[in-house]
Amino acid sequence: MAAEASAALPPLAARWLVLGEWRAHPARVIIGALAIAVGVALGFAVHLVNRTALDSFARAISTVNGAADLQVHGLTPAGFDEALYPKVARLPGVAGASPVVSLAARHSDAGTPEFNAGNGRQRITLLGLDGLRAASVTPSLIGMPINGPGRASGLDPDAIFLSRAALAATGKKPGDRLSLTAAGHSRSFTIAGVLAGAGEDQALAVIDIADAQWRFGQLGRLQRIDVRLAEGADAARVEQALAAILPHDAEIVTARSEAQRSDSLSRAYRVNLEMLAMVALLTGGFLVFSAQSLSVARRSGQFALLRVLGLRRRALVAQVVAEGAVLGLIGAGVGIALGYGLADLAVTLLGGDLGGGYFPEGTVHLRFPPLAALAFAALGVGVAVLSSLLPARAAARAQPAVALKASGDATDPRRQPRSWPGLALLAAGGLAALGPPLFGLPLLGYAAMALLLAGGVAAMPFLARMLLAPLLRAEWPPAIDLALKRLWGAPGAAAVALCGIVASTSLMVAMAVMVTSFRGSVDDWLVQILPSDIYLHVEGAEAGGLDMAAQARLAATPGVGSVHFVRQMPLRLSPELPAVILSGQPVNAADPGARMPLLGDPVPVPAGETAAYISEPMGWLYGLAPGDHVTLPLASGKQRVFVAGVWRDYARQFGAITLDTADFERLTGDASKTEAAIDVAPGASVSAVTDALRARLPDQLRSQTMFAQPRQMRAMALRIFDRSFAVTYALEAIAIIIGLIGVATTFSAQTLARAREFGMLRHIGVKRRQIMMMLATEGALLGLVGVIAGLGLGLMMAQVLIHVVNPQSFHWTMDTRLPWGLFAGLVAALVSAAAGTAVLAGRKALSADAVRAVRQDW
């Protein structure tokens, strides 16, 4: 019987031990479980939202693509020669080929577009299809005539079929007229029916291919060929045969490569959000650690008794760990439910990308993924178990004889806390920060942050002594002196109280420094790239914008000092990566930095070569540096250009290439323009010139053209920036609140546990007021130490974010800026919270009769 009892506690005893403790201190249990719950909830919510957004994005893509087996895409919106179509159709293994004209269109009743990112709703993807071919390749793109089959047909040049999303976006119904503008041409149609198979997500419009070519200036061109493979055909061989006949301005796209592209579109952003959520979970882990440490310390007598009665160490460890696991389980369960609710709320309020701007179109449908829920729950339980392991082992290690006699801080104040584990972890973190990205993600950067955090927390006892040592040398009033001595003598207890607050403070500081630096750099960059008075942008003009005549008319507008016309078009350089933006703009060969925020000096261009200036992300993604060459697949053939410089760009995460206007027109054969930067003549009014410019625009482009001034554009850009970081701010705030709650509970618990000490102090003549003073000082000092450590650690981690995580995930760099105001607020909040809690707890501890307190404290 005794031998059995020693192996493990009988279930009843185990339950009694846990429940007894929890009944005595329900708040602490709740806080611990809540910390885990919040961490799990955030992680799960962010994961859910990301996954949902990605799913709906993929669905939107497959809606437009009509689920063809594979596709040929043009590398630019100009598409490729239609002569490819019969060649593709005749390939062995191809059962059906459906030629497609695909244009970005706006419906003309949408009014003048506003200069902001929210105008995705006015955009409609206009597809020109050969309905007879599409019927067997992409049947979901075939319109259902509203009058029943047999009436209007896909051949009717006046008929347009809309997806439900497009009907909703235009506010029209079948039978109405709809006017669309695309590629600089406007044309109106009768809505003949609905694309029933196109899903709810995508604003799609389908017309006949011949009319699309004719009316929208696409004669002889296709943007896409959808391919259905013959049954049993080997997809790889068909792809190979297809690749052999492909012109240089087209590429093969499969569901796989498309998914990868959409994945890489937002991967870094999603991973960063998930990491932030994990950080919240980690903070929760520290709180569980605090709670468990305290509860173990308080029950050391109980545990000692059990040990004396024959319970083995392993069983004791198992008991404490099991407590943690139960705590984690409760937290995880609540967290999963909370996370689902949170995700639902976030998706409803902010949209599928939490305001990040990565998934501009389409609605999002939330689903519950059981596997992911299980994984996050397991993570929560795991964190709780791990956080309980250390206190459990401490409890098991304690000498039963010593512990039976006295509870509380059993460490000898004369022993110097060890510094090397913390320093080693910090050093490891520093080393990890130097590592390269793994799988295109800054995983080592995150590992570095975790190591720094762990190192910082581990070094806390040592650090607390180091910070307090100078104060000890001075003369202080007794209350303050007592506080200092107490903290100095029991750094382990201080560390336990502090680890949560250090973790959350440092993480918050790191994020805040990064965001401040980023915002400041973006602001500077905006000032640099927007030197002109008026900016003009033709919306949805990828396939054609302002022609030469229109440019001349605009340039001749009275009041215009000078105009810089810009042509931008997307260009796909890699099937796995989203398109880069190729732009043609006036570049001063002698001083290319004049209108471009160049990083470093441009290199001289060898004679006979074409200079290209690439953006910073472009250089990272394609491994390009000044002096390298890059080949551009353009309509005129493959063109090799010389990388003469790199410029800072925060706008196009997937890269941009700038050519001089003359080079751009020579290589692309495209002299139309999509953008213009206008400087007004001295004395001219900006608004008057804007009106005059608008009046001189070609009629069909007027509704597509937006005007803006640099001030507006800067404000808009920063608004978008703040919106995309809104979630980051929210996560930070949650982390700090958890930290504060942790400090409050830990500190009050520690204070309450010291009732006997306070009784003793009262007995030797210390006044009640002095004890309160002592506690306030202790709290303030503890808060101060925590905040200083958190700040230092946070600044270190911010450098990892700025110099490792950001360049590796978003491929841009920034200059460090410090948010001093936030730091000051943080210090004040933490110090006063710690002192306040200490005083409140002290008042409660002192309310008991001093004599009784000395006799018994538990």
Binding site: E82, D208, W214
Partner: protein, 353 residues
């Protein structure tokens, strides 16, 4: 008189505008060959329609049908796009196998162009993806079609001269002289080739009938359907019989022809042909009831003669409603002293134009 062509016009939304400048069918236009074997793109619709009986090596009797249609939609001819649907080609093929008890069929459709879908003028040469119908220099016609459940690769050898229907190829379809088509047939075609069913290839031989017809206006507004019968007689004769029905089941128009083995030609008018309903078969699939064993009363040389028709099997119905098409019956039939194909339309619901 072939239903699918009309359906197909309907599908393309081409039924409405009468203003399109189509060529008009007129009497007294002499047909010239081989040019008239080729396409007539200025007319609204046209077909190359082959039906017949096949015998496999094992001795099974099968019916088959291979048809290519051409139609010219009423579009804006100013559109310079190579995709402008100036001509649409459509092809349909079916196998009637009594062992299966229903039809196997397949189809192709495309707008003409890019060499993928072409109906040549000058001689018979029609390409629609991998489907073909090409007249060779020696006069034989090679055709190849391929569906999911079967494939046919046949050589059709004429054994008789061209049979001009109606008045030297001008064939009336209704009371108005404008309701007419240019119409000739190639009966008694000797067939040899291969049939692939369920992945198995087998040699087949047989006898077939080709109808060539082009027109811009076919049907009288009162018509709701029709019956058409083309029979290769065992003695080498060729008998064509048809009627256009109104809503009451009466004949809006009827006609046909008999060419005897020695080449003597008799043109049959509305008074010479009467379809008398015989045994009826009800389709469980569509609920339509077809007079699958009609008796046709033909007045030849002033003497009425009844020709009882027996189907190869009852369920030779085609339900193309899912593709927006009609329900009709088209299958292999026997008559005493001959074999051929019967088409019956408008029995499930009236054909609306």
């Amino acid at each position: 008189m072939r239903l699918l062509a009309l359906v197909f016009l309907l599908l393309l939304g081409a039924a409405a505008p009468a203003s399109a400048p189509y060529a008009v069918v007129k009497p007294g236009v002499a047909l010239r060959f081989p040019a008239d074997h080729g396409a007539h793109p200025q007319f609204r619709t046209e077909w190359w329609y082959v039906t017949g009986w096949l015998k496999t090596a094992k001795g099974e009797d099968l019916g088959f049908q291979v048809t290519f249609f051409r139609t010219r939609p009423p579009i804006d001819t100013a559109n310079p796009s190579a995709f402008a649907p100036r001509q649409i080609l459509f092809a349909h093929a079916a196998i009637s196998d009594p062992a299966t008890g229903k039809l196997l069929h397949a189809q192709r459709i495309a707008r003409q162009g890019f060499g993928l879908a072409e109906a040549a003028t000058g001689d018979m040469k029609i390409v629609l993806d991998e489907w073909r119908m090409v007249r060779r220099a020696d006069g034989r016609i090679a055709t190849r079609v391929q569906g999911r459940s079967f494939a046919l690769d046949l050589m059709l050898a004429p054994t008789q001269p061209v049979l001009l229907q109606g008045q030297a190829g001008y064939s009336r379809k209704g009371p108005s002289p404008a309701e007419a088509s240019h119409y000739y047939s190639l009966p008694q075609l000797r067939v040899a080739g291969t049939l692939v069913r369920g992945g198995k290839r087998e040699a087949v031989t047989g006898t077939a009938w080709m109808d060539r017809e082009w027109s811009s206006k076919l049907l009288n507004p009162a018509a709701v359907g029709w019956d058409w019968l083309g029979l290769n007689l065992d003695d080498g004769g060729a008998l064509t019989l048809f009627q256009v029905r109104n809503a009451k089941g009466g004949a809006v128009w009827a006609g046909g022809s008999l060419r005897r083995a020695d080449g003597r030609m008799t043109v049959l008018g509305p008074g010479d042909v009467r379809f008398l309903p015989g045994r009826r078969w009800r389709s469980a699939r569509t609920g339509a009831t077809y007079p699958v064993a009609q008796v046709v009363r033909v007045t030849l040389d002033g003497k009425p003669r009844d020709i009882p028709v027996t189907p190869l099997f009852d369920d030779q119905e085609l339900d193309s409603r899912r593709g927006g098409g009609p329900v009709y019956w088209e299958g292999a039939v026997r008559v005493p002293g001959g074999r051929g194909y019967l088409e019956m339309t408008g029995y499930q619901s009236a054909l609306k134009m």
